[in-house]
């Protein structure tokens, strides 16, 4: 393994946010009351659409913005009012923010110099950090002489070189192309595994969030919609927003006809189906039934699954390993998407063909039909 600097083996610290509110203009809140605990050494991702307040929250953690109200604690100490340079946080920016007038080595040395490390220790750590991101030997180059991916690695190395208790990353891979992004995701995951700092990572790429995180907090206009490990988020979304934001989902408009003992819904085409109801309180309420494409099967015969509906194929895409079809529910205009592994046994459906679509009751979830619902953080 890598030789680690002996001076300290950073004890990563837990982070606690208590009712954080942020308003820039004093009128509208951008962050509307966040309660959040991040365990020491945890990798937490904040995922949310553009403008949902992710960067604002990160800026408050880093100390560049003060919360309008609420409290931020690192370990036992309240840091809400501490200036950025005293917080001992490593930060990685979307556009790297490597100092263009310094060499890579000087960039890496900067956080050590301001902490008063001696020359020998600085040299040792710079070498260690470069090895850490597998870029030994670029020390005397300028940032502009590195590729985008290399620059990002140096930015990560610079944020880790002083072994901070907390590392913040604001869409660090946003400027990279897809292939490089996947490669860097693995690098970041490896660094987290090796060094175990507490990481708060901001992205609006859900696959990145799922791939990297211990837990994901889904942001929706300044609030946390749901916070859970990736698998739970995918399998058991708590709201229609999370269900559509994470992964792909079919949204079928529906009306609750029965809740006890079994939830029954009527959907376009006057079919009755069943699904797991989440937060639906009254019979007759407008709601939506959500089924993921890979859990929506096109069937050979009626009996295989609890729910089945007639549809007409309107589009087919052959992916090789899977087949994706688009179908319209008979007697309505609602379109559904179904994706199935291609086992090579069954014929590929053709456009215009009638087809039977079915799902297991536990694979479908029904949510109240409000466009946005905030429940998880109150």
């Amino acid at each position: 393994m890598m030789s680690q600097p002996s001076t300290e083996n950073s004890a990563s610290k837990p982070v606690t946010l208590r009712s954080i509110v942020k308003s820039y203009d004093g009128k509208t809140a951008v962050v509307k009351g966040i309660d959040l605990s991040v365990a020491a050494g945890e990798f937490l991702t904040i995922l949310g659409p553009s403008g949902s307040g992710k960067t604002s929250l990160l800026m408050m953690l880093a100390g560049f913005e003060l919360p309008s109200s609420g409290e931020i604690r690192f370990g036992d100490s309240d840091v809400s009012r501490l200036p950025p340079h005293k917080r001992n946080i490593g930060m990685v920016f979307q556009h790297y923010a490597l100092f263009p007038h310094m060499t890579v080595g000087q960039n890496l040395a900067f956080p050590l110099q301001v902490r008063g490390y001696d020359q020998v220790e600085i040299a040792r750590r710079v070498a260690w950090a470069l090895e850490l991101v597998r870029l030994a030997g670029v020390e005397s180059r300028r940032p502009a002489q590195l590729s985008g991916g290399q620059q990002q690695r140096i930015a990560v190395a610079r944020a880790l070189i002083f072994r901070p208790e907390l590392v913040l990353m604001d869409e660090p891979l946003g400027a990279l192309d897809k292939q490089l992004r996947e490669q860097m995701q693995e690098e970041i995951a490896r660094l987290h595994r090796d060094l175990r700092p507490t990481v708060i990572y901001v992205t609006h790429d859900q696959s990145e969030a799922i791939a990297l995180s211990d837990r994901v907090a889904v942001f929706d206009s300044g609030r946390i919609s749901q916070i859970a490990p990736p698998r739970e988020l995918y399998e058991a979304p708590a709201s229609a927003f999370v269900a559509t934001f994470i992964g792909e989902n079919n949204r079928i408009p529906a009306k609750a006809v029965d809740l006890c003992p079994f939830a029954r819904f009527v959907i376009p085409g006057d079919r009755f189906v069943s699904a797991v109801p989440i937060g639906i309180e009254t019979k007759g309420a407008d709601c939506c039934v959500m089924v993921r494409p890979e859990r929506l099967h096109f069937l050979a015969c009626q009996q295989e699954l609890a729910n089945s509906i007639d549809a007409v194929v309107t589009g087919v895409t052959y992916h090789g390993d899977s087949i994706r079809i688009r179908a319209e529910i008979t007697g309505s205009t609602t379109e559904l998407i179904s994706r199935q592994a291609n086992d090579g046994q069954r014929p590929v459906p053709r456009i215009g063909e009638p087809i039977l679509l079915g799902w297991r009751t536990e694979d479908a979830r029904a949510f109240p039909n409000t466009a946005h619902q905030h429940s998880a953080n109150t």
């Binding site: 880093a62 340079h85 917080r87 490593g90 930060m91 007038h101 900067f110 956080p111 301001v114």
Partner: protein
Amino acid sequence: MLVVPLLSFIAVLFVVPIATMLWKGIYDAEVADLLPATTRSLALWSDEGKLPPAASLAALADDLRTLDRSGRVAELSFRMNRKRHGFRDLIERSAIRLRDEGTKLEDIDSRWSDPVSWQVLKQATEVITPDHLLNALDLDRMPDGSINRQDEGRRIYLRLLGRTILVAAIVTCICVVLGYPFAHILAAAKGKRRTVLLFVVLLPFWTSLLVRTTAWIVLLQRQGVINELLVSAGIIADRHRFALIYNFSGTIITMVYVLLPFFVLPLQAVMRGIPGQYVKAAASLGGSPIRVFQRIYLPMTMPGVAAGASLVFILSLGYYVTPALVGGRTGQLISNQIAFHIQSSLNWGLAAALGTILLALVAAMCLLLSRFAGQGRITP
């Protein structure tokens, strides 16, 4: 093809005047034109310590008579007197005495029998002459061709040049100190605040320089606003009013005011081009505000400082209007002396020579500063 208008514009308005000036600094045909025969005759004579041949003496007598008839002796005597004291009298007297036919130069004045006078005359008739340039550097060419420093009392241009450089340096330093924070505030400002600040910087450009300079006179003079305020506030006694204007300090104060926008504008442009994330990154890495300024912000804004400072320095070197109005005697700069030689003493050759030296100085500064600016970008 499309740049032809621009090129011809540059040629007419820059290259031609500058070339003319450089040429005028070393080419002076005034005496040669007034004394054509003498010039031709003396061109062949070079014996030192001996009188020129009689033919030359006769030529000069002829030339003087011609000048006398057309009433242009004064022109010659004025020009010759610049070369050597006493020549005005010598030439005018000779011209009058030469009205009598048959009078010989040697009989009019003993100085015509002195080879030194003829050497001076020969130097004056040479059309390509280093005299003006030497003069501008406080040097003097002796009749025997050797070069000495001017007499103590006549050494003024080097001192003036030194003062010009000093004023330019002081003005530049003050502009840097005052302008840097202001440029930073301006660059960081947004929306309405920025509009107001920019307006403040640009306002001077919309009023005539003359009006603004006069406004400073109102403010700074002995009975001016500042002194009145200080006296009425009891801070200084009536007898001790500050002499803020018509001297060195008047020139400095007013020039700083006039040139400050030339420093602020390029610097704030550079500052605006620096994304805020560098400073944020440095702070998050543990840099205290002072360290961040030293290590990150200052080096990154250095090209802007260099650009603004060079602009101010070079503009200061050639500044004319402001020192002329508020400089008094001790606040005069080299360009005021150039103006004096063009407008009052009519010594265009010397004016051109001084201009040449100023131009050389500016060119040297440009080279030096561009080097410095280049370094500012790469040193940490």
